[in-house]
């Protein structure tokens, strides 16, 4: 059996989907300039990780992957809350959410 099968969905399909989402998220982080959209792309990357964890949990017949996915979700929530708080502070001080215009640390 070579290649990805079209009649049964296996682990490879989920890994491919996860890789695609991760790639799209990385492109979003690198190319977009609005900080809100950058944070959304980071959420996309974290979701790609979750697909991997749950697909391997199913594949190995163990629950550990799903428990880890819950921890990933909790960390994603904390990251979103703190990131958006930083964003509001940034907007209050600089008046912009454009990542290119925030160059305080640029030498």
């Amino acid at each position: 059996m070579t290649g990805l099968s079209l009649t049964t969905i296996g682990l490879g399909h989920y890994l491919a989907l996860s890789a695609a989402l991760m790639l799209i998220g990385t492109v979003g982080v690198l190319t977009r300039r609005n900080v809100v959209v950058i944070l959304m792309s980071v959420e996309l990357i974290l979701n790609a990780v979750n697909i991997n964890l749950i697909a391997f949990s199913k594949h190995l017949g163990q629950l550990h992957g799903q428990v880890f996915a819950i921890f990933v979700i909790a960390v994603a929530v904390a990251e979103a809350a703190v990131g958006l708080g930083i964003l509001i502070a940034l907007y209050r001080n600089k008046g912009t959410v454009n990542a290119d215009e925030v160059d305080l640390l640029k030498w």
Binding site: T2, G3, L4, L6, T7, T8, I9, G10, L11, G12, H13, Y14, L15, A16, L17, A19, A20, L21, L23, I24, V27, G28, T31, R32, N34, V36, V37, L39, M40, E43, L44, N47, I51, I54, A55, S57, K58, H59, G61, L63, H64, Q66, V67, I70, F71, I73, A74, V75, V77, A78, E79, A80, A81, V82, L84, G85, L87, I88, R92, V97
Partner: protein, 169 residues
């Protein structure tokens, strides 16, 4: 067969919504696309038998986080992103070959490593992803990480409040 069709539909929907998220210039449209991704992924988690994670995905991601994002977009009154002229030629020249190379490497690895890896993932075939099983694992084997997560979330709450607070002079 049912599982194949559902996987095809919702995996395509997830990728289409993700591409739309990156391509759209208005942040509200991106947020709505992200909701589409989350919903499609929840269905895929159901296909994998992870019922509890699917529910958590809908409640926490599509519910809580997206409301937070929409609130911030509304609060900042963020409009459309301006296109920045110039300096895109180099990134296209280098980025496109690297992109194709990455896709090739991933396709090769998946084809060689994971096609023969065990039984296919079937629709409605997995037991053990319900709230009871996940809860048992969470409160016995993973009790310490679970408690540490509560500290993490407490710190995140404090951080968000301190960062978003108005300075009082």
């Amino acid at each position: 067969m049912m599982g194949v069709i559902l996987f095809a539909i919702f995996a395509t929907a997830a990728i289409a919504c993700a591409i739309n998220l990156v391509l759209q210039r208005h942040p509200v449209t991106s947020a709505l696309s992200l909701i589409g991704v989350m919903g499609s992924l929840a269905v895929l988690y159901l296909l994998l038998g992870a019922e509890f994670i699917a529910a958590v995905q809908l409640i926490v991601y599509a519910g809580a986080i997206m409301v937070l994002f929409l609130f911030v977009i509304m609060l900042l009154n963020a409009g459309e992103e301006r296109k920045i002229p110039g300096k895109s030629m180099v990134s296209k020249l280098i980025g496109l070959p690297v992109f194709v190379l990455f896709l090739g490497v991933v396709a090769y690895l998946i084809q060689t490593q994971y096609t023969h890896a065990g039984s296919p993932v079937e629709f409605d075939a997995f037991t053990g992803g319900g709230p009871r099983e996940v809860g048992m694992a969470l409160f016995t084997t993973y009790l310490l990480p679970f408690e540490v997560t509560s500290v993490l979330i407490l710190i995140a709450i404090l951080g968000a409040i301190v960062l978003a607070r108005k300075e009082i002079d």
